[in-house]
Amino acid sequence: MTAETQTTVLIVSLLLPLVGAAGVQVLGRFVSDNARDVWTIVIGLATFSQVIRLIEPVMAGARPSLDLPNWMAGLGLGFEVEPLGLLFALVASGLWILTSIYGIGYMRGHHEKNQTRFFTCFALAISAALGIAFAGDLVTLFLFYEILTFSTFPLVTHAGTEAAVKAGRLYLGILVSTSVLFLLLAILWTSTLADTLQFTPGGILDGRIEGHSAVLLLMLFAYGVGKAALMPFHRWLPAAMVAPTPVSALLHAVAVVKAGVFSVLKIAVYVFGIDMLAKDGLSDVLMWVAAITILAASIKALSLDNLKARLAYSTISQLSYIVLGAALATSAAAMGAGLHILMHALGKITLFFVAGAVYVVTQKTEVSQLDGIGRKMPFTFGAFCIASLSIIGLPPLGGAWSKWFLVSGAFESGEYLMGAVFMVSSLLSIGYLMPIVVRAFFRPLPEGEDDSVTDAPLLMLIPICTTALLCFVAFFYTDAVYDLLAPAFGLN
């Protein structure tokens, strides 16, 4: 593929979701709901197929790019496809297709209002996520980061109830405040230090800042990316669970939160550089913050009865795996972090899909109500079991690999305590996930409930089983992802 074709593919993949959003509006308003929903899936497939086309050149070492130097007040907009961003784009756009299918089943099964607005904002959010994935510099990253926040706001407050509005306020409040107060400040500060704001292999800050200022800058970045949900700026994520479940599944297990940790990882690798982070314990503070978030969120998850809330805290904990992976500042740990973006996405989206399916079929939302439900919904809870094991990190499931790299990265850098944090957190995740499986399969149904099989509708069941299957497949194809990411972290 020539460089021009690559750029064209890049542009097309960025624009397709926007076209999708416009089409959803037109079809939803003037044609029919069915046409709109088919269109959503078609656009999803088209976008994913374009992103896939970028794999081959990127693996071959090319970096498809697009520069719009005169945009944004001469700050310029720039896009560059590098391995890490490509992986995130693949995850977001690939799972978008499945979530669309699932979302159609969910929204119809649940008779939600304003479905056109819902699917429009969904497409906009995906286009923002792709913008983040392919951003070639910090300004572009920031632009799409904010677009993602604002385009997901109507999704979070979809119900329009008092609770939804309150949650929306918290969501927007935390995400916008952190991004403006910390992230934008960090970007501007970086711009006064470095000659460029472009993501450059090896970083742009080495030798330009050191000591406490460097630690402060790193923490400004880490907390500025509020979507990474580092404590104490994590409250927006549980609050966002008020949204319909497809939103929780794709956005608050995949696109939005992964955009956050992806940004942290990308900044760590391409702005600071792994070597710089490793020097003089620059990332020690970040490491501890991430470790505390991992453990505290896991413990909190143990205590929650609401299924989605429990999953949300599990997400907060798992996100910090990735931040910790970046902070450990070794190639292996960074690789683990990169892999975890994919592996956790596959596992957690399945878990959320299941939570939504349970809600649509039985209206149940609490863990304590799930006794014996595995017998009613065997496929759904079979998928839940597989995904749980992947999150815990057991082979032969994808989650095992990312955890392997993260732990070995911790040992490689001599941070044995951090290795222990991963281990303890795995135990905790057994503690908050497995009881759900045990309850579902081994406890009797409550008195008076019909025990005939009434599994989720097909439109929901297909995505659930597909993502669970992918957890399994990912275990065997991890080397392909490894090869893709290797150049980003200086591994070969």
């Binding site: 944004m72 001469g74 700050l75 405040s177 403006v180 107060l181 400040l185």
Partner: protein
Amino acid sequence: MDHLPALQVLLPLMGAPLCFLLRKEAIVSAFTVAISFACLAISMTLLGEVRGGEVIVYEFGGWPRPFGIEYRVDITNAFVMVVVSLVASVVFAAGPGQARRAIPAGREYLFYSAALLCLTGLLGVTITGDVFNVFVFMEISSLSSYILIALGRERRALMAAFTYLIMGTIGATFLLIGIGLMYQMTGTLNMVDMAERLQDVNDTRTIRVAVAFVVVGISTKLAVFPLHQWLPNAYSEAPPLVSAFLAATATKVAYYLLLRFSLGIFGAALVFDRIGIDTLLMPLSVLAMFVGSIAAIYQTDFKRVLAYSSIAQIGYMTLGFSLASEAGVAAGLIHVFNHALMKGSLFLVAACITWRMGSTKVDVMRGLGQRMPLTMAAFVVAGLALVGVPGTAGFVSKWALVTAALEQDSLFLAFLIMGSSILAVVYIWRLVEVIYFQEPDGTVEKRDAPLRMLIPTWILAGMTIYFGLFSGFSVEVAEAAASQLFAGLGTAVY
């Protein structure tokens, strides 16, 4: 073509009495819009000619300075004139539907006459190269704006206009006293002459006092905290279109005067290094940013929210000035342009709401998202720009201002700027919740504002996006203007 600088002011000046004579509303409104667009065309042409750095000097009656009055166009005032005439054209174009509702039938021509006179005054203040002329035009614009504000429907409008009149007169008097002192020391009223002659005497007490009078006088007009009390009432009681016009132009022109007098005539060395205006203005600007934004959060009327927000936004502009650097002044000028677009469109949204609901109380805005979807979409766009979301004009301003602050190693100041923009999120988002999430009273009938109001609103709102993405124009012009300003008038090359 040679007479463009004179026409810039004479066109609206001649138009105002003609409006009075023509009287018929349809003719008068078309005439006013035509004149304001002609002014826009002239100012854009002038900006195009001076953009390279040369200065156009227009001598009235062929009398050279210091004997005659001259108009002097450089990048800064051409830029400000573009802002003023742009907002005037768009806002006046929205006029017909609005004026008929806000003003007793048959009296619309008064609105248009006063509006054109106000435009004359603002353009005159900006273009003239003579300090006494500045005072005269400022009085023209002020007097006509008192009339415009007093046209508001509530009786409170009279009180607001009266307060503004008192404060405005005090400000103008201070300016006049300052000008008098400067004349006493230099014996000239021409800006360039004055700047040259001041070099010898600027260490005297008289000139220091003159600086104080001039800066305080202009600050009153500019509504610098704590001289801002007239502004919220004036902007919220005036007819919404008048608010849109004044909010986007009057304070901008005052800001231009602050730059012209302090950098052009007194010179940066005097006002910053010796007198230290910046050390006084910086804390006041920061206070304005926070006090204005916090007050905006608690208002129960949409127009008052916008008015208090203006006080905060003026804080950004004066903060840029108080950084005492080219980058800072450029940031201030960029914000002059961007803020005019944002506030112009937001006040036009207020005009649309008044047209539909008869009031801009936050209570009546419940559920307006369903009733006036297109108008409210414009509100969201302009609101996001005011917040400074990337991709909008507000972000460009914020970026420039924070970069200027960081240039002076002031991380704390940068943090304060960010912090106050968070407050903007609060007062805008509070309204978004009211508009989209609260149930409207009574029946929900979907009816947007008429197109002639909606189109101007969207033109300005669209421009906040356009100049957020393709802001080469505003940034380059502002930077060139700042460097030209810092060179001072005294050493200007012809």
